[in-house]
Subunit: 690 residues, 2 copies
């Protein structure tokens, strides 16, 4: 990883309007039209932008997608759909592992709790939000006031428009925008390949390139039991992306930390990532070991295991960037320079003071983080049953409160999504629950101490393993009907149930809420401080820059382009032939074994067809499943990964080696035609209609 | 795991002479003759004991074994021999994976650096050691005095007898015994099965029972290029162990912590195990992930990976015991009771004061443990190249000092073993070294802090990954000839080499040595305190109890006996048929796949022959490879594991569910005859001669 260019430029970009090459996760409300015109002579017109925006889909489970037919067909990554696939898979029908195809509408399977959102419009509500926070108040008081105004704006918008309405915090509190979404909850599976084709090469090849993954699946969106007919969907490009071509990614990058101050980055480097890495690696070992005991165990753990391994690579990449003295030194130097700029201006007193406030808040957070993570964050009680128990407990307590005074996940605007999740009948396996609960209790006892009063109360005289088994055996919250009954009955019914898991949630709830209150108060202090810094930054730069990612819809542009690595050129595109070559060089051992179907159909395939490709688009986790389109807004591929060099992009962008990875639209068609032989689906993609 | 019986009894055993059922890792100098006579009517005569002692072999790499023929044939576990197998395996000849058989003496392969020890006699040197520590001195001064007298006794004995001579600390410092060993360094491989037969079921089945593992391998010991002809070797029992039979284990349990005080156990529970567990799980994930990238990676990492996974299960088992409020509460109560006994006696002032001293020392250790582990313990610089570099640096500095003043691993008595290890030409792979060094540096930066001056000096302005690659690429210490040259040239030659890895070792050496000095001083304080406690315990109990394990030869007795688990009876013995059944129920997926040779030879086998069995012997890590013998001192099996319930035995023994696992002598013969078809080896075992 050649970081010298990255870091030199990072130092500049974050605090001036000098944006590098293809950098940027741009707001649809502030697209990079000027840059595109100057650099590529391309006019990103209002209709072009509106069409792309409304063709883009957000998967609430944490990913992106797009409409690719006028009959409501949505494409996303297999690994974005995996959560839904896992939930209706059983021991007998393992769709996640074996794939699925609905030959006709009747065979499409409805997902248990999947919610899709399509952005309709964006409104700047910064002035209204700021006006609701009385001058001079801070901490938890200000946080409450902000939560209230958020809830008020969201509810008002929901009532008026019927759209799901989320107030989104941008520029770390510099701006607030209201995002209105069309919301879909009847989503049905149309096609998924076998996991071995989707995630070919598994964890070893994850975040690597060259790659040969068919990481796609197709859903169809319904309303009133009929397939929706979206006006905006992407036309499928049979030729797909070409080397050197200008391409756009429209999706939902989850979060970046490019505008954070040094104390915040130090906290991430020294406290947050080490904690999370230990947790991830501990759980990975736990699930791998348990999966080894039987094939059914392996099936039950597979999806969470994938997610853990993916996150572990991400954090390994991030800590590598932050521990690099050159990279981190450049961030430190850039902040110093910006502070000197501030010191020279008459309007910067508040911004300068803000840095000290952030540092102090960060210190307070460091003091509570362990207890917060274990007791409120759930790291010490890692079981679906506990999460459900707490939701029932808190719903009973929060619902009677005025909308704006509730914990934010209980706000009216989020109610439907919350209930969809709470009443999901996804399978919850007691053996798996006992395993993860026992291990997380063990970890919590290690870190908070066996003699801690809260720990002693939680264990109730038992060992972590015995306590976990006891709780999971006795709780009734896995029963969906009972959940509904307790939810509707409110806090009295919840108390009367006398469920051991709910009572455990109650036991720690006052401490957990107190920790959350402290944490939210610090976040509020930081947000106000960041707003003060942003204000001066806007004064210097205008809003010619883009805000950090927040799982809101963004537009990124770039070119299809290879890179140099270890002295060799890595071409931009792989062909289907490469899949067979990779398998051969690994003697077909897992996870490099070819799916039987791909062995059988090899001779039918045109092996020269492009399969995966890389581009310089600025993306990050959450962009999975994003469509990648050409100037004509045609679908030329689908984002599914970044290379290992892109993992530092949480803190800064470079196009030297950092690349976004996509499945090529031509490769998808070739596989659907000749390996999976699904002519109906192919026709729908090619024609844009069934 | 039914702990109530265990803990009730544990509470008793540790502090009185009431030893439970089959408990005890007995000294050969103080065998349980009375118990054996009373309980089993068995007379463990002096000649019987002497024969068993001299037939027992210690593998210095960390395991046990025994002579099983008059031509120097030694049997141990495959996993004990694995280190040696790995070292002469190559990409082309993977003996560790594929197995090996020498049809004749000429084909036997000499191990790179294996050292075997056979105990000849034991001498109590307690009075001489104690006399050498002037009254009233403590801490590092006393530690130095003790090191001096150890070195003096060991050197004197070595010079006089020619035997390797080690002073062994027993009863936490209550006694000191001199162990004299015949030492063998020309050890040649005769037979090893494929790893898949030896470690069938892999990590998932490790520490589980029923089992079906052929965890054995055979070496032959040479002197002056001729096979040794030991007077004492074990006669092979073709029938093997029978249910209910009295059996003995003669081997080298590594360590137990049954006599530790509560503050010491708290330290282990709250600090030591959490640290070690994070380290183990982190490395396991690292090696698994790297192994996934290619088959050659997997081969290079395999042995360390096995060791990590094994240790991880051990520590998971230990923390489970210590975090159990019932188990730990019983230990606390027992200590309280013993202290009350002490308070009632006139001779116990020093013993009572000792508890406070131990607690204070433990607190000091807690304050330095992180830096100690990373800088002196090597946890932050996990690469063979670093270990070698430090050995060269320190050898140059230590050798010129008087024998007794050196760091203990540089004492004259250990010189031959040290040099054997340092000049070993075992393969050291730069890519693997870079991987482990980078990861351990990352972990150290996380835990000691990126701004720590030592850390900044170690990184030298580079990221952990870049620094690791740079160090491993530039160091020359992987060249054995250079190592010899530097070792012989002493500190001047070492300095002149200007090797980056040696210079890194030098950079941290003064801090590392200082940390070690503090740690050793605390250990000395604890040892003196334990000696004071032991003195009163001896006064109350006599030496009718056994000391904690210390990798010194011990005798344990027990019976071949099944147990109850989850309401079902687990029979004592498995048959060869069970291997095929286990594979079938797992669809033959790894690590449950049958070795091809076992598939091919199935019809030739008598499937009813016993394969593995359990007994109530009190064993722990280090006992791997120990012979298990009957009343006639015949070889009836070989210890290779304990079940999962036995993992609490670090702190206390129970025979309720806790079991030692062995490979049955009849199963070994059946496999050698019919699967491996090695008649020469079979004849030698049966006849006791070639």
């Amino acid at each position: 990883m050649k970081l010298h260019v990255l870091t030199a430029l990072t130092a500049v970009f974050a605090f001036t309007s000098l944006v590098q090459a293809e950098e940027g996760m741009w707001l649809y409300s502030n697209p990079p039209r000027q840059q595109l015109k100057e650099k590529y002579g391309f006019d990103a017109s209002e209709p072009w932008l509106d069409h792309l925006m409304k063709s883009s889909v957000r998967f609430n489970s944490g990913g992106s997608g797009s409409f690719v037919s006028g009959d409501g067909l949505v494409i996303t990554n297999h690994h974005v759909g995996a959560d839904a696939l896992q939930k209706f898979s059983t021991k007998e029908n393992n769709y996640l592992r074996d794939g699925f195809y609905a030959k006709n509408a009747g065979e499409e399977i409805k997902c248990v709790d999947l919610e899709l959102n399509v952005l309709q419009n964006i409104e700047d509500v910064t002035i209204r939000v700021n006006a609701a926070i009385p001058a001079g108040i801070t901490g938890s008081e200000a946080a409450l006031a902000r939560r209230k105004i958020f809830a008020e704006i969201e509810k008002e918008s929901l009532d008026k428009t019927g759209f799901r309405s989320d107030v989104v915090t941008l520029y770390q509190g510099g701006e607030y925008h209201l995002y209105r979404f069309k919301r879909y909850t009847d989503v049905r599976l149309v096609f998924a390949p076998e996991a071995q084709a989707a995630f070919y090469g598994g964890d070893p090849d994850n975040f690597e390139f060259p790659r040969y993954d068919l990481d796609v699946c197709f859903f169809r969106v319904y309303e009133n039991d009929k397939a929706v007919q979206p006006v905006n969907y992407l036309k499928w490009s049979a030729a797909g992306a070409a080397e050197g071509e200008l391409v756009f990614v429209s999706g939902h990058p989850g979060s970046t930390r490019r505008l954070l101050t040094i104390p915040e980055l130090e906290y991430i480097r020294d406290i947050q990532i080490p904690f999370v890495e230990n947790l991830l690696k501990r759980r990975e070992v736990l699930l791998l070991s348990w999966s080894g005991r039987s094939q059914e165990n392996a099936r039950r753990a597979k999806e969470e295991l994938f997610s853990l391994q993916n996150s572990r690579k991400v954090y390994d990449g991030r800590i590598a960037a932050l521990q690099d003295p050159v990279f981190f030194g450049a961030k430190v130097a850039a902040e110093k320079t910006f502070k000197q700029q501030l010191a020279a201006r008459p309007d910067s007193a508040a911004a300068l003071a803000a840095y000290a406030k952030i540092a102090a808040a960060q210190k307070t957070l460091a003091g509570i983080v362990l207890r917060y993570r274990f007791l409120e964050g759930g790291a010490g009680l890692n079981a679906e049953s506990f999460a459900i128990a707490r939701e029932l407990l808190r719903a009973g307590e929060e619902r009677p409160k005025p909308n704006g005074e509730r914990l934010k996940e209980y706000a009216d605007a989020k109610r439907e999504s919350f209930e969809l999740d709470l009443f999901s009948d996804k399978p919850v396996y007691p053996d798996f629950e006992t395993l993860t609960l026992a291990d997380s209790l063990t970890s919590m006892v290690e870190q908070l101490g066996a003699e801690d009063p809260t720990i002693r109360a939680i264990l109730n005289g038992q060992s972590p393993r015995a306590r976990a088994a006891d709780l999971i055996n006795r709780t009734k919250v896995r029963d969906v009907a009972l959940r509904k009954q307790l939810y509707e009955g409110g806090s009295a019914a919840v108390a009367q149930a006398n469920d051991p898991m709910i009572e455990l949630a109650r036991l720690i709830d006052s401490e957990a809420r107190e920790l959350r209150k402290i944490a939210e108060a610090q976040d509020e202090i930081k947000q106000q401080a960041q707003a003060a810094i942003s204000k001066v930054r806007f004064a210097i730069q205008g809003t010619s820059n883009y805000p950090d990612a927040t799982f809101s819809l963004r537009l990124s542009y770039g070119t299809v382009k290879g890179y140099e690595e270890n002295g060799a050129h890595v071409p931009a595109t792989t062909a289907i032939a490469g899949l067979y070559a990779r398998s051969a060089e690994q003697n077909d051992r897992p996870p490099f074994d070819l799916p039987p179907r791909w062995i059988a159909k090899k001779s039918a395939l045109d092996l020269t067809v492009p399969f995966n490709f890389v581009s310089t688009n600025d993306i990050i986790g959450g962009n999975s499943g994003s469509p990648i389109v050409n100037r004509a807004a045609e679908f030329v591929g689908i984002i599914f990964d970044g290379n290992i060099q892109s993992l530092s992009e949480d803190y800064g962008y470079t196009d030297v080696q950092s690349r976004a990875l996509s499945v090529h639209s031509a490769g998808i068609l070739e596989a659907l035609r000749k390996v999976y032989e699904v002519p109906n689906l192919v026709n729908e993609l090619v024609k844009g209609k069934r």
